[in-house]
Symmetry: C2
Subunit: 190 residues, 2 copies
DNA sequence: CTGGATTTTCAGTATATACTGAAAATCCAA
DNA sequence: TTGGATTTTCAGTATATACTGAAAATCCAG
């Protein structure tokens, strides 16, 4: 760790801390950060060397990162070691991050909500609770549908949309026309 | 807990589990879930009663939720107890959620990146690491700027935009014109 | 096959976090 | 003020999770 440039060290430590707020632990965060900054793939021993974790800790961290598709395995010619590297494009990284978390957290929640909403209520209280669950379901569904749409888009278009932000509406003065369109869509989806 | 309708119970337990993936712990998740579903504000004792946590655990959970602005305090006439309730509108909930997490996680990361990018590199390796940090910074900045824009919007417009998704572009055929606009914006912001 | 290089597994231990109960502090009606 | 109702604090304990080292499994060049 001391052998690293100061800036790199700061970055790696920061991601360690941040990781812990995300169900991803310190070790995993640091490994990822280091791989992200590295210009070449690193092997487990190099990670052990620089981060000073136990070999097995690094191994399981890498395993988790690979399972999240945040880190990929690569073999180097004339070397039996496994080398690891991240996606080069930052956009691919966020796409994956969002995708993984969606699968692990959002989708199960949606199923749970659907199951629970379908249930026959046994009391007034339950009925009104179900209404709230339904409301939440609608919102999450809307967000995930939107996300699916965005996920499909190539980076350049996505960036353009994001850059425009709220101006998307202001740019065009067809407020009424837009309203109409979006209402049609509401009817389709609900 | 057993006194709760089955659907409510499922929901509460699910949010307990999910909470733990979010830096929010099981207790806090369950408290929040219960308050969300309840049609009336609840006091700490009622929460202790239904969830079977210790009084102090509930207290600190509530404190955390209040600090996250996810739960609000309310007083009932002729009752000295503190009553707690969530926002009624689900959109307010997500707005707050995103806002809080942004303040706690994203903004500090941005500052860290800015500090570290500004540093004079001491090696080729460090220089190229800084380039990657810069790339990440650009992306996060873009997303947070977009978020600021969306945050300002009233719910109805936001919903319309989300509902339209990728169709925003397809609706209008002025691809060239749009491209132009967004390039101007790039120049402004970078 | 064999043996060295490498990764993976796993039981045990350490560390961090959640949770508790009891005691202290606060708050307000009388 | 005082005292009961209520909330908050905090030291100690339990629980969950991270981490380790050593041993087992895998892998492949010779």
């Amino acid at each position: 760790m001391n052998n690293l440039p100061a800036t790199v060290q700061t970055f790696v430590l920061h991601f360690g801390e941040m990781g812990s707020r995300w169900g991803i632990n310190r070790t995993v965060g640091q490994i990822y950060a280091l791989l992200y900054l590295s210009d070449k793939p690193l092997n487990a021993d190099e990670l052990v060397e620089t981060l000073r974790f136990s070999r097995s800790n690094v191994a399981s961290g890498l395993k988790e990162l690979v399972s999240m598709n945040l880190v990929m395995l690569k073999h180097m010619p004339a070397d039996r070691k496994d080398y690891y590297h991240t996606h080069d494009d930052v956009w691919d990284i966020v796409r994956n991050l969002v995708e993984v978390r969606r699968r692990r957290e959002v989708d199960p929640t949606l199923s749970m909500l659907e199951a629970v909403i379908a249930e026959q209520p046994h009391s007034e209280q339950e009925k009104q609770a179900q209404a709230k669950m339904n409301e939440m379901h609608g919102l999450i569904k809307m967000l995930t549908d939107w996300h699916s749409d965005m996920q499909k888009m190539e980076t350049e278009r996505l960036v353009n949309i994001l850059k425009m932000g709220a101006k998307i509406y202001d740019l065009f003065q067809f407020r009424g026309k837009l309203k109409l369109k979006s209402q049609q869509m509401t009817e389709e989806t609900s």
